[in-house]
């Protein structure tokens, strides 16, 4: 069975601090895709990144970076120099290749304090 665990339910940091959101996944499939989505207070789900299981290269996009480690089944997300606008719920998600449904983690609620 597939599963995504985001152990951090809620995190608060002061603006300009760096913060890492953890994501651990479980699957026996060898081909799968990992995603991060942001859900701000307005409610929409904003796509941040997609990574396939064969590409372990880390990625940086502005203040956002992702660390994919197959050895530990983790796909962690770091925000550098956090800003108040980063306050949101962040979901890590998994899709296996032969399936259609995204399996979301429970989400991490991130508060960036001014």
């Amino acid at each position: 069975a597939q599963k995504v665990t985001q152990a951090q339910t809620e995190i608060s940091v002061v603006e300009k601090e760096d913060v890492t959101l953890d994501c651990v996944y479980e699957t026996r499939d060898t081909t799968y895709y990992l995603f991060w989505y942001k859900q701000p207070p307005s409610g929409e789900l904003v796509f941040l990144i997609r990574r396939n299981s064969f590409d372990e290269q880390n990625e940086i996009s502005g203040r956002y970076s992702w660390n994919f480690q197959k050895s530990t089944s983790s796909f962690n997300f770091t925000i550098t120099a956090s800003q108040v606008v980063d306050s949101a719920v962040y979901f890590c998600a998994l899709i296996i290749n032969r399936d259609d449904k995204i399996i979301f983690g429970k989400g991490t609620r991130l508060h960036i304090l001014p």
Partner: protein, 115 residues
Amino acid sequence: AAGVIQSPRHLIKEKRETATLKCYPIPRHDTVYWYQQGPGQDPQFLISFYEKMQSDKGSIPDRFSAQQFSDYHSELNMSSLELGDSALYFCASSLARRAGNSPLHFGNGTRLTVT
């Protein structure tokens, strides 16, 4: 850039009523997914369509039905509404046949409140 359009944004219905939610995918996206997100919960997969045919089915109640039309827009029909159906309903679309093969782009959601 065009995004996934969902209507209405908000809907209030009474118990046992019927509701219809609409989704207009990004142009050229032929795959549509529906998700339900209860308060404080993660989104749960309901159903998906590819080229107007049902592709996969998740935890969708029998009271709900959905279809994808010739212009690729999709509608989620919900009958005999219950209080527990109150949730945010998302539609997502993608270019690829399989959900992982290209990013899923979500609409802004329809917030359904059943009273």
